[in-house]
Structures are given as C-alpha cells and as structure tokens.
C-alpha cells in the first residue's frame, strides 16, 4: 500500500485527521476499491475491539448488579458502610462483609475476593525505589495494581516472574482481558512456579468477566495440581469457581 494511504489511515484511526485529509480519504474510498476494502476492514477491526471490550465491561457490571440483588455488597468506598448500616438487621450481610475485608491469613473462610500473589520481589522494593522493578514491587505491595502493572509491563518479558507479576497486577487492576492475554503463555510454558498460580488468576479473570464456563475449566485444572503452602485461599476460591 502506498505510504500516503497508510499515513491517512494512521491519522484517521488516531483521530488526528484534518478536514483536508478526511476529504482526501473520502475521495480515495469513493474511487479506489482496493483502498476502500482495506479501510472497511480496519473499521470492522476497530469496532470489534471496542465492542468486545464493551461486552466484557457490561458483563462485569451485570455481576455487580447481581451482587446487589442478592442482598450482597459492593466495593464502592463509603457506600458499603452506608448500606451495611442501613441493613444492620441483616446480620448475614455483616458477616460476609467482615470476611471480605479480613486479612487473608486470619480468614476462616475463603472470600470471593482478589488475592494478590505473595510478592517475590518484596526485597527489591523500599522507600528509595529507583528502578522500574523496585517501583513496581512497591506499587504491588501497596495494592496500587494499575501502577504495578505499568511497571512490570516494562520489564524483560523473557523472565517468567516479570510476566507473572505483570499479569497478576493486571488482574488486581481489573484489566481482565489484558491479564488473560499476558498470563496464558505462562501456562503453556509449564514452568510450575508460575504456570500453576497463573491458572488460578486466569480462572479468576474469566470469572470476573462473566465467562463462568472458562472459570470452571481453568479452576478445575488448577485444583488438579498439588496443594501448595500459602495458596489455601486461592484453592478455596478455585473450588467455588469450579462448582
């Protein structure tokens, strides 16, 4: 394809196209069937990506609504406390809320909540973090998963640990689609240190976007591996997803 054509497509899809360039593009579409075909396909790709994302986000919100309809609780800042106080008589809700916020090592029953994997880079962090790894590790430790994902995502992807923590951070940041994309190759790699826990986070991501069948399959696969110390809550959650 001619360089000029690609430039126009670049401008169009990055939403920087000027009126004059848009006229040029419209003329090309009208008079050059080959270009019109390429442009049409790229529009379809753009629409498919956005539509796919919207479908997944919608499924996530429908899950939030389902929680509310079941008399559950949301995670939206102060509103949970308002709701909890208003429903003080509903002791069951209180119990669920307490379990939800209980530190993982004290919980008596596994909550259906995001469980960050123990940070193997914890010693790399610190208050004077300077490298990307140190900063990502600190962000991960602080529960700032979007920032942690941004950091881990910049590291060498040939190191499985970087990829794994990148994926887990994406899960923590609720970017489930991207998390699935990043974590899936780890499972294929069969590196047991990361392939097995990656299965758990893949199951969790499927569950969060409403793909219950995918969650069930992956959680079942995860549970077939020997139980590992420190993953008790993950296994308990996986058992719920595998049902």
């Amino acid at each position: 394809m001619e360089e000029r054509y690609e430039y126009l497509l670049d401008q169009y899809f990055s939403r920087r196209i000027t009126p004059a360039e848009k006229n040029e593009l419209d003329l090309l579409v009208a008079n050059n069937p080959a270009f019109a075909d390429v442009f049409g396909f790229q529009q379809k790709v753009s629409a498919a990506i956005i539509s796919n994302e919207r479908t997944q986000l919608k499924a996530l919100l429908q899950q939030e609504e389902a929680k509310k309809n079941k008399g559950g609780f949301d995670t939206g800042g102060w509103s949970i406390w308002t709701k909890t106080l208003m429903a003080a008589a509903a002791a069951a809700i209180m119990v669920v809320a307490v379990i939800y916020f209980w530190p993982p090592n004290k919980a008596v029953e596994a909550p259906m909540a995001f469980i960050p994997y123990p940070n193997e880079f914890a010693s790399a962090g610190g208050e004077d973090a300077t490298t990307i790894l140190q900063k990502a590790s600190n962000d991960y430790q602080a529960g700032q998963f979007a920032a942690a994902a941004a950091g881990f995502g910049q590291l060498d992807k040939s190191v499985p640990a970087h990829v794994f923590y990148y994926g887990v951070s994406l899960v923590g940041a609720q970017n489930y689609t991207k998390a699935l994309e990043i974590l899936s190759p780890l499972v294929v790699s069969r590196n047991p240190d990361y392939a097995i826990p990656a299965q758990y986070y893949i199951a969790w991501s499927h569950f969060q976007i409403g793909n219950l069948e995918g969650a069930k399959l992956t959680a079942t696969a995860y549970l077939k591996n020997p139980a590992k110390k420190g993953e008790e809550l993950m296994r308990a959650n996986a058992q719920k997803m595998a049902k």
């Binding site: 690609e6 670049d10 956005i50 796919n52 994902a149 994309e181």
Partner: protein, 176 residues
C-alpha cells in the same frame, strides 16, 4: 489506565445517586435506568482507558453528563425538556463531544461481528498490542513505537500491516 479508581469503584460510587436522579426525571423503570447507567460508565471508562482524555471535571460530573446524553437517545421521540444535572455538576454538550460516536461509527458498531472479535483474541501478544493501541487507544505509529520500544513508526507500520494481513486471512477463512 487511570490509576485513581477501578471500574467497579466508578460504578458503585455513583450508582445510587444516578439511579435516583434518572428515575425521578424520566420515570423510566429501574432496569432501564440501570442499563443506561451501565452504558454511561462503559463509555466513560473506555475513554479513560484509552488514555486520551483530560478530565476537566470530576468523573461523576462526566458520568452524569454522558448518562444524560444516553437518556436523551433512549427517550428520543418523546418531547422532554433537557434533564437538569444535580447541584454542583456543570458540563456542556461541547465538553462531551469526545464521548459520542459519529453516526458513521455508530453504524459500524451496530453491525456487531462476534466472529471477528473471537479471531482478534487469538492474535499473539505483539500483534494484539499493536492492534489494540491503534484501534482502541487511538495511537499513531510513532506513538506506538515510543510506547512499545520499536525503532520507528515505520517498523510499527510494517508490523501492523503483517498483523492485519494475518487477521484478514483468518477472517476470510472463518467468518465469511
């Protein structure tokens, strides 16, 4: 990715206020308002995620403004006054221009292509990243090169050409 709050935070923190506001002004049923509110949240979140948005007001204000536009669309044909936003929320239609699809985009969007959606998910990480940065994050080749560490925009263009050719072949094979 906006680091300040999660998608479900955005949804939950403003839901009750929006529901109350929208129901009292439109008389729509609960389920219809939930649907509108979800669409408004998704539109705002996608713009935030795309990384091209400068929030000139609080996210809640944008959310109500977008929700008002979505409600207008739903109530099209019914002659109603514009809905006044809750106190303290000021936003004009001009501020919301970036959130609305053009009629052309809307038409393409409506022709949903779930087969193509599935094929896109099978792309390898490199291709998926370039395609997503191009068509979701609205980045041009030069920007993608900077973000992803490629030598130049030309390299990105070459890679994207190969990825789209691969995608096209799969599309022709499985979706036509």
């Amino acid at each position: 990715m906006y680091d300040g709050f999660s998608f479900t935070d955005l949804y939950n923190q403003n839901r009750n206020k929006f529901m109350h506001w929208a129901k009292s002004w439109t008389g729509l049923k609960e389920a219809e308002v939930v649907d509108v509110y979800q669409d408004a949240c998704i539109i705002l979140w996608q713009k935030i995620q795309a990384g091209n948005l400068v929030l000139t007001a609080k996210p809640a204000t944008f959310l109500f403004g977008i929700g008002r536009n979505v409600l207008r669309e739903r109530l099209r044909g019914q002659k109603r006054e514009p809905l006044p936003l809750p106190d303290g929320m000021n936003i004009t239609d001009d501020d919301l221009n970036d959130f609305m699809d053009s009629p052309e985009e809307e038409m393409i969007r409506l022709q949903r292509n779930s087969c193509l959606e599935k094929i896109i998910q099978t792309l390898g990480e490199g291709c998926a990243s370039i395609v997503r940065l191009t068509f979701f994050h609205d980045k041009n080749s030069k920007e993608i090169a900077e973000i992803s560490g490629y030598a130049s925009g030309d390299v990105v263009r070459q890679m994207r050409r190969r990825c789209l050719t691969q995608l096209r072949e799969l599309y022709e094979k499985h979706c036509n």
